[in-house]
Each structure stands twice: as C-alpha cells, then as structure tokens.
Amino acid sequence: MLALLTPPSAGEVIIAGQSASAKPLNYRKKIGVISHNTFLYNNLSAYENLLFYGRMYDVPNLKKRINEVISEVGLKYSLNDPVRNFSRGMQQRLSIARAIIHEPEILFLDEPYTGLDQAAVKILNNVLLKLKNNERTILMVTHNFEQALNMSDRLVILVGGRIVHETPGSFLTLESLKDLYLNLVEER
C-alpha cells in the first residue's frame, strides 16, 4: 500500500506532505523497492534488466547510470551475463541496483537480507548508508534485530499488523530490543 501498488481502503498515503494515493503515477518514480523477490527477468542480461527498468523510470544518461550502479553492487564483470546464471546473492545485488537506478527518494526494503551472502550484505549496508547520508527515507521490514538496530534511526515494532511500539533506535541495545519484542508478542 505504501509503495502505491494498491489504494488504501481507508486513510491516505502522504509523501512529502502531499497525498500520494490520489495520483500514484506521479509518486511511484520517487519510490524504490527491494524485496526478497528480485523482480528481474532471468532471460535478460544484467545490463538489459537495468536498461529496461531505467527506461521505465525515464532515467537520464541511462548508460552512465547503469555503469555507476553496477559498479556500486560489484557486478561490473557480469554485466552481460544472463541473470539465470547468477547465484542468489548476485541476483539480490542486481536487485539492489534495479531499485536504486532511478535514485529514489524513498526506499522500501522487505526482508532484504534473505538469502544474501556476506559480500552482498556488506554491499547492501553500504548502499543504505549512502542513501541515508543523502537524506533519503528508508523503510525496512526485517526480523533481523541486529540489522534493524544498526541501520535505523527509528524502530517500530508490529505485532498482528498493528504498531505496538515506536522508539528511536539509539535508545535500545540488542538485548533490550529482543526482550521488548518478546514481551510485546507474549502480551498479545
């Protein structure tokens, strides 16, 4: 719903102070999504996948931008290889490149660390850090307490689809976060 895939049944999605639900097309270009599914085409090469998505987002200087993002995720030497030959970690790295090719202002991450090798975890962390430093908004859904604590400014705990706790990330340690989460789940 936040990624403007479906209209909300009640309420509205507000981006930068304006309702995004009414004109989702105008706001979709501001949004990038990284999911455990890669959204990639197995029979296209890495370059063709990025070319396709770049054109869909009207990315200016697309070839230059493809070279930038592909270097950022460490797949420069696999640019022309078909995605079906990629390992799960490589596909996820290419998925990161796909999600940031249009330099989104808001990045949604749904369990992004699923199936990632250590190299890919490091790359994803670097990408997120860079986006964070560029004052981009990042919303990550994860079951990984350590990653959540390391990466976030604000932590929100959802239980049964409802927000049950919200706090600045710096207020908690790893142990206190785990205890808090377990207590909240048990209370339900």
Partner: protein, 225 residues
Amino acid sequence: MGYLSKILNLVWKDLVIEFRAKEILSVMLIFAILVPIILAFSLNSAQETTENIFPGIIWVALTFSGILGFNRTFLNEKQNDSLLGLMLTPVDRTAIYFAKVIVNFTMMIFTEAVTLPLLFILFDFRFRGSILTLVLVIFLGTLGFTSVSTFLSALSANTRASEILLPIILFPIIIPVIIAAVQSTGIVLVGASIGEIASWIKLLGVYDVIFMAVPFILFEYILEV
C-alpha cells in the same frame, strides 16, 4: 519517455525474452502445423464439404494454437515476481496490456504466415478472392482474438489451473469474433467482394474497438486480483 515509448520498451523486453526462450512461438507453430496435417489426412480435399468447412479449419488451427501460446503470456512476469516490479514503475498499467497484445499479435502473425500457405497447399484449395480482403479479415479476426485472450490471460495467470481456465472463459466471449471471422473468410475465399462481407467486417471492427477500450477501465483491477 511517453506512454508509447514505455509500451515499446515493454514489447522490446518481451520479444528479446521470447527470442531467447522460444517458449510461446515454438508451441504455437508446432500446433498450428500439426492440425492442418492431421486434418488433411482425415478429410478428402476433393469433396465439396471439405471446401465448405475450410474457413472453419483455418480458424480452429489459429485459435487453438493461439490459446496454447497465450496461456504463457504472463509466465515471464511470474518468475521473480516481475509483474510486481512492473506495477511499481511510474507507467499506466494499461501499457502492460497493450504491450502484451502487440507481442501476442506478432506471434499470431508469424503463426499465420506459416499455417495459411500450408493449409492452402495441403487442401489443394484454389483461392478465388482478393488477397487484400482476406488480409483485412485475418487482421481484424486476429486482433479481436488476441485482445480478448491477452486480457483474460492476465485474469487467469494468478490461478492454479490457468491453462484450463483460459479456454473455458475465453471461448464463450470470443464466439462473435470466431463466427464473424469464419463467415467472412468463407465469403472472401470464394471470390466475393468486400461489400458482401461488410456487415461481418463491421462486427469484427466493433468487437476489436470494444476489447481495446475495456482494458482502459478494467486492466488495473485485473492486475490487483
């Protein structure tokens, strides 16, 4: 990039994938070649009855081979949940539909280019009409069939038994197109003028326009199913 450029980008992507995977066209061509061969051996081409049912044979071969291929229209989009990736892009979702129609229409044209000459040769059918009129009838019939099939294949793609569901929901809806296409093809084949098939051509044209317009309203909802 405008709306049209996005459609062309989607078409480019689908054609490149099909050129490499050969998952749709190969199935359609094999079926469209086998049907005329089997029927040619089963029916006596010298009989008048065979000549009368020849237009029906043409459209049976084309529609059944089309359905086999169109069942796979959204197969690429299901791998890695790519359809979701498309729905996230800032493009009107009808662009996805029209791109798929163009790709499926192209596949059908390829299939027809192989099947139709084969049918005429195998049945030793002497064509007495106007080629241009026949091309017009085939074009309109194929466009109507493709537009409805593509629309419904999007609907059936997310179901468990999509390969069974598509023909079941498709055939009742395309009956007007098939009847009009078979009737007008039959009239054209024996050398009648375009004036004699005007009412059938109008029916095909109206049907095509309706099923190119309906997705503007409904395709977004179909994708959300």
